[in-house]
């Protein structure tokens, strides 16, 4: 028996990283305020600032490789698509400033900046959310929400649904493996894969549904519907004052962005 591990539950939940150890709700407030600000301000400059901010946090919290892989998957196609679309939409308009010629196709500055604005604010928004989810375990978020009065039933539904997705993926893999063993082609192009995959959906869903009843009984046996107060083995650290200040700053950024957007709109009018 690893008693050191067992007694570690006497301490608050901690990961040894300043950002990761922030309360999940504080982190969520920061991520949402910054993300929404990006949508409101809607300029490539603010988007880039957010991307830089998220990248620094990713390096600090040691999730950089996962972060950059996911971000590039979104960023590259989005940047290309929005730039091309804007060139096609507005490239022919008079007064545009030429910037370069791509194999006979003239690109202009104004539609290019408009494309950058859209893609950068979306990438900026995605980057802060990505940082949030890479640094926050769902069970910590649900625990924080339970501490704020969300019922343990809601928390269970959220967490078990996420586990169900993993379990269903495992079931799908098992069924596909057995199909393969029976000589059915499961590898190859997308059509072959889809042909093999779609017939497995029925058994996967049925097995998930049949397991639900037993799971409910198992949870009932563990006093899930007990009406007295619940206690928790894992306890989150009490929120320090400076964390509230961080949240307040994030909210100020959001308010500032709203003011900025209103003033910009008035100026245009």
């Amino acid at each position: 028996m690893d008693k050191e591990f067992a007694y570690s539950y006497n301490d608050y939940v901690k990961y040894g990283n300043g950002f990761k150890d922030l309360n999940p709700i504080s982190k969520l407030i920061i991520a949402l305020c910054l993300g929404i600000s990006s949508c409101i301000i809607h300029t490539w400059q603010f988007g880039v600032v957010l991307i830089v901010f998220s990248t620094i946090i990713a390096i600090y919290s040691k999730v950089f490789s996962k972060y950059i892989k996911s971000l590039l998957t979104i960023a590259i196609p989005l940047l290309l698509l929005s730039s091309i679309m804007r060139q096609l939409q507005y490239g022919h308009m008079e007064g545009n400033t030429p910037i370069f010629n791509l194999l006979g196709w003239q690109w202009y500055k104004e539609p290019f900046v408009a494309g950058m604005d859209i893609s950068c604010y979306i990438i900026g928004f995605s980057s802060v959310l990505l940082i949030y989810f890479l640094n926050t375990e769902m069970r910590d978020l649900m625990l924080a929400l339970e501490n704020r009065g969300v019922s343990h039933v809601t928390s269970y539904i959220m967490l078990s649904s996420m586990q169900s997705i993993i379990d269903m993926k495992k079931s799908a893999d098992t069924i596909l493996e057995s199909q393969k063993a029976r000589g059915i082609e499961t590898d190859g192009n997308i059509i072959v894969r889809m042909k093999a995959f779609f017939p497995t959906l029925g058994p996967i869903l049925l097995s998930a549904m049949s397991g639900t009843e037993e799971k409910a009984i198992a949870m009932d046996a563990r006093a899930f519907s007990h009406e007295g107060g619940h206690t928790y083995l894992r306890v989150l650290r009490p929120i320090p004052v400076w964390e509230y200040i961080l949240d307040a700053l994030a909210i100020l950024v959001l308010i500032g962005s709203i003011v900025f957007a209103v003033l910009r709109a008035m100026h245009r009018i």
Binding site: D2, S164, A223
Partner: protein, 280 residues
């Protein structure tokens, strides 16, 4: 006084024609180890569901007769109250894991969290149970990544940690390999000496013979035999009711038929060994 008492209980599941339990009358006393045997579809699991309060609170359907738990009708209990009185472990090890905990230690503590047990006490109880069930080496592991046998032991641990007076165990080894089965029966052996009331449904008749004080034999929703383990397991009529008897009891009966009876029909290997040794 009986802890659990059933008087002329009949029950049928919703949307079914046939009764799963028919006119069942039996009782369970505190501190005894009961075995329930019988063919598949005989009503064993339904009886467990009734004792655990899942009937009529979870499974609706038609229930008649009286089922009293500590003198109070099952209809008047709520399932949350019952869960702190009667623990329940069932067949499928894969659906008994909550799916929301990321270590075995947390999984074992889940019932205690729900019951509101203070954290210090919770940690001590989980450590005790993990040691008792020999799963201490698993506490850091993710319960969703364990083998079937390991999951069943974790399911036992989370129920035992709740320290209920009664345990209903429904075919705990039916989906396990021999090693998993052996480990589960080690747990059951530990429980036998814990002075709890245990109701075990199991097909492995040799193991039932070794552990149980009393046995109920069920067929088509009725209790066909009920009494002390030795008395029930040596009845020749059991074979007519599609219930198996221990191999050594079969041997003892064959010896009687051959006109060379042992002093009594044995039901366990140890008993048979002693009887044969005495005979020499």
């Amino acid at each position: 006084m009986a802890f659990i008492e059933l008087k002329n209980v009949s029950y049928k599941y919703p949307y079914t024609k046939n009764y799963a339990l028919q006119d069942v009358t039996c009782s369970f006393e505190k501190g005894k180890f009961y075995g329930i045997i019988g063919e598949n579809g005989g009503g064993k699991t339904t009886l467990c569901n009734l004792i655990r309060g899942l009937i009529p609170h979870f499974y609706l359907g038609k229930l008649t007769g009286e089922c009293l738990i500590e003198g109070k009708d099952i209809r008047e209990w709520n399932t949350a109250e019952l869960s702190s009185q009667i623990g329940y472990v069932f067949q499928n090890p894969f659906t008994q894991i909550s799916g929301i905990k990321s270590t075995v230690f947390e999984e074992v503590a889940i019932g205690l969290e729900n019951l509101g047990v203070p954290k210090d006490e919770m940690i001590e109880r989980v450590i005790d149970v993990c040691n008792q069930l020999d799963i201490g080496h698993l506490i850091r592991n993710n319960p969703n990544e364990l083998s079937g046998g390991q999951r069943q032991r974790v399911a036992f641990a989370s129920i035992i940690a709740m320290d209920t007076d009664t345990l209903v165990i429904d075919e705990p080894t039916s989906q396990l390999d021999p090693e998993g089965t052996e480990n589960v029966f080690k747990i059951i052996n530990t429980l036998k000496h814990s002075n709890k009331t245990i109701i075990l449904v199991e097909h492995k008749i040799d193991l039932i013979a070794e552990f149980c004080d009393e046995i109920l034999v069920m067929e088509n929703g009725t209790v066909v035999f009920n009494g002390p383990a030795h008395e029930v397991l040596t009845k020749r009529e059991l074979l007519d009711h599609k219930a198996s008897i221990p191999e050594v009891a079969r041997f003892g009966l064959a010896m009687e038929d051959a006109g060379k009876p042992l002093p009594r029909v044995p039901v366990t290997m140890d008993e048979a060994y002693k009887l044969i040794k005495e005979r020499r």
